[in-house]
């Protein structure tokens, strides 16, 4: 168990795509059990920053301290780190050739080296926790978007991560399916999961987040508890963005 201190700390994370700077030295941290929402206009760098947290994007400079270790450092076995940082994508990215259970157990088998029986036991439990026990043998293509995204969440949870990153988890869903995914995230929060969520779900952020971070132009403009950030934003740019989003 970690003693004090944040579970994840980004220090001066900078990133450019070619000559285009997308992140200007982001400092950011998440406490154990905290649910942090990152909001901001498109092109603000919020997804890129999230993807730097598990090195799907390689930052150009800075440090990313996860569980006491700089995961950008030399000699870090990133594949081991990634087992403890789950990620959920906007487009679900389920493996279409594998059953629901196959999707959830692949990394358990091939990375965590669990036996088939053990992997399936864990996989079934993860699927049960997202309310999909009855879809174990289904193929992903036969599921609704909301169900697919819950499978993707179960796939991340099956590895027993300490942190889960959500990259616009409901943006690709029909409005009537959003609720089921948000319910799973709410449940995760109650079970104490640490989560960083890039999202446009302002109402959900306001209700569920412990802290909201507003990013624009590759910088963190403002952050605070949702009540403060949504009711009384300090920065004019935050106010402007929120008024556009809430309109």
């Amino acid at each position: 168990m970690m003693p004090e201190g944040p579970l994840l700390s980004a220090i001066g994370i900078a990133k450019r795509f070619g000559s285009l700077p997308v992140l200007h030295g982001i400092d950011f941290s998440v406490q154990q059990g905290e649910m942090v929402f990152i909001i901001g206009p498109s092109g603000s760098g919020k997804s890129t920053f999230l993807r730097c947290c598990n090195r799907l994007e390689e930052p150009d400079s800075g440090a990313m301290i996860f569980d006491g270790v700089d995961i950008l450092g030399k000699g870090v076995e990133i594949n081991t780190v990634r087992q403890r940082i789950g990620m959920v994508f906007q487009a679900f990215n389920l493996y279409p050739h594998l059953s629901v259970l196959g999707n959830v157990t692949l990394a358990l088998r091939k990375v965590a080296r669990k036996s088939k029986t053990e992997a399936e036991r864990i996989g079934r439990a993860a699927l049960e926790s997202v309310g999909l026990s009855d879809k174990v043998d289904a193929m992903p293509g036969t599921l609704s978007g909301g169900q697919q995204q819950r499978v993707a969440i179960a796939r991340a949870l099956a590895l027993d991560p300490k942190l889960v990153l959500f990259d616009e988890p409901t943006s690709a869903l029909d409005p009537e399916l959003v609720g089921s995914v948000l319910a799973v995230m709410r449940d995760l929060k109650q079970r104490g999961m640490t989560m960083v969520v890039v999202s446009h779900e302002m109402r959900f952020a306001r209700e569920a987040a412990d802290r909201v971070v507003f990013m624009e132009g590759g910088r963190i403009v403002e952050q605070g508890p949702p009540a403060q950030l949504f009711e009384a934003p300090r920065e004019p740019r935050t106010r402007e963005f929120l008024s556009r989003m809430m309109a």
């Binding site: 598990n54 799907l56 990634r82 994508f89 487009a91 493996y95 091939k110």
Partner: protein
């Protein structure tokens, strides 16, 4: 002799059918053997090359592209003759059987590599990212996530290409491999009658029509509803 009788006598002469049948059947065995070996080694090698290419290591990529382009551009007959008649001059003598197997395997590998490669790059980036995000290595992702999908996508073009190349086993006739066409032309030269060639043609159909049908069956079996 009427026109019809002449036709039957030229292409379907009963005594010749009876006399040549054992040779044609043995030719079918040889054709099937070479075709089977070519399919196994050619597709395996093509898949291996496409997988290697996906690591995007420049010298390896360049070598694979050059190999694939040359073997796809060259008529297989030219390769068969060069290898069969050329290699003995450098002290390497291969049997006609080995030459045919080697050349057709390399040609199929070249085409299969391009087809598999097209399959690999058509898999959406999100599949790589999802797998890598769970800690799978690049190679594990390739093996367990990307290739199974890429291979399914490539079944239809690969089936067509494989049939086209395995039919080239008929080239064995010019280097004395006793496959169907070789058996048929030998019998023709003894009899001066085209009946053995007609038997050879039918023998090819007997072998390849089921392959074409199998290809269609595999194609529908390997399709799945896209997520």
């Amino acid at each position: 002799m009427s026109g019809f009788e002449r036709f039957v006598d030229t292409f379907f002469k009963a005594e010749l059918i009876a006399a040549t049948l054992p040779n044609i059947v043995s030719g079918m065995g040889m054709t099937l053997l070479i075709a089977g070996l070519v399919v196994l080694t050619g597709i395996f090698l093509g898949l291996l090359l496409a997988a290697l290419r996906s690591y995007r290591i420049t010298p390896i990529t360049v070598a694979i592209v050059i190999f694939a382009d040359i073997l796809r551009a060259m008529p297989p007959l030219v390769l068969v003759l060069i290898v069969y008649f050329g290699l003995p001059n450098v002290g390497l003598t291969l049997s006609g059987f080995a030459v045919l197997w080697l050349v057709l395997s390399l040609v199929l590998a070249a085409f299969a590599e391009e087809i598999f490669w097209a399959g690999i790059i058509s898999i959406r980036k999100g599949q790589w990212e999802a797998a890598r995000a769970t800690g799978l290595t690049y190679t594990a992702t390739l093996i367990w996530v990307i290739l199974p999908q890429a291979v399914r996508l490539t079944i239809p073009p690969l089936t067509n290409r494989t049939i086209a190349i395995t039919k080239n086993t008929a080239l064995g006739t010019v280097i004395g491999v006793p496959e169907i066409l070789n058996q048929a032309t030998t019998a023709v030269s003894f009899s001066g009658n085209a009946t053995p060639l007609m038997m050879g043609a039918i023998a090819y159909l007997v072998i390849f029509i089921p392959v074409v049908m199998l290809g269609r069956a595999v194609e529908s079996r390997f399709s799945w509803k896209r997520a």
